[in-house]
Symmetry: C2
Subunit: 120 residues, 2 copies
DNA sequence: CCTCGACGGTATCCATTGGTAACTGGCTAC
DNA sequence: GTAGCCAGTTACCAATGGATACCGTCGAGG
C-alpha cells in the first residue's frame, strides 16, 4: 500500500525533505550552482526575480540541510560565496529527471488545460 | 548559463509545471494512484490527514493538467473515482527518483541539521 | 417516523507563508 | 559630501494552506 518508504506518514522525515526539494527556489538554486559557486547577487540576478528575503531563507535552509556551504569573506564590500556540497550536487540528477519530464510534457499539459477550460 | 530549457524565466511554463509537481499533495496523489484508481475518501484516508478542501483543489488542478481523470457515478451515496492518465503515470518514474534520493539522504540531512543547530 | 451514517464535497475562518518595498552598515569612487 | 556597492534585515501586506463545520441525498436501523 505504501511505497518502499513511508512518505505517507506526515511525521516521516522523508516527507519533510520532499517538501524541501519541491520548493521552487531550492530547485533553482541547485541548478544555478550546478556550474560552480556563486555569490548572493549572482544568484539573485540569475534566478528571475527573487525577493532577497526569500532567497536568504532558502539559502539558510539549504545550508542547514547540508546542501550548500556558505563562505563569508569579511571584506568591504562583503563577499559571500555559496557552493554545492557533494550531497547538494547529488541532487542535480534527480532534479534533471524532473525538469526533463516537465519540459517534455509542457505541450501536452498546456493542451490539457486549454481543453479543460474550454468546457468550463 | 541556463539549463537546456529556461526554467529560470518566471514566465516559462516549465516553471509552472515544476511548481505543480513539487506540490506536496500532488506527489502523494500520484503515488497513491500508482496501484490503481481510488475514490475520494480512499485518497483522503490513504494520505495522512489532508484537509478535504486542499485535496479537492489538488485533484482539480491535476485533472486540469491532464494527470488524472475524474469519473462521477451519480449514485447514492455518490461515487467518484480518480485514475491516473498515461501522462500522470509517466510521472511515477521521476517521482520515484526523487523519493529514492530523499530516503537515501534522510540520515545525512538529519545529521547536517543537528550539526547546524548545535553551533547556533 | 425519524434519526443516523455514508459520500463527496463546500463554506467559513484563522495561521502561516510568500512576496514587496524600504532601509542598514561600512567603505570606496566621484 | 554624497552616491553606490554588497549582503542582507525589517517592517508590512496579500495570498495561500489548513482545520473545522456543514450540506444534500438516500438507505438502514430503531
Amino acid at each position: 500500500m505504501v511505497t518502499k518508504g513511508n512518505a505517507f506518514d506526515p511525521n516521516c522525515p522523508t516527507r519533510t525533505i520532499l517538501d524541501r526539494i519541491g520548493d521552487k527556489w531550492t530547485v533553482l538554486v541547485v541548478l544555478s550552482l550546478r556550474s560552480g559557486p556563486l555569490r548572493f547577487t549572482e544568484l539573485r540576478d540569475g534566478i528571475g526575480r527573487v525577493a532577497p528575503k526569500v532567497l536568504t531563507q532558502t539559502l539558510r535552509r539549504m545550508e542547514r540541510d547540508g546542501l550548500i556551504t556558505r563562505e563569508v569573506y569579511p571584506e568591504i564590500p562583503p563577499r559571500v560565496v555559496y557552493t554545492l556540497t557533494p550531497m547538494g550536487a547529488s541532487l542535480i540528477e534527480p532534479i534533471s529527471v524532473i525538469t526533463d519530464w516537465a519540459e517534455t510534457h509542457v505541450p501536452a499539459i498546456t493542451k490539457a488545460q486549454a481543453a479543460y477550460d474550454e468546457l468550463a
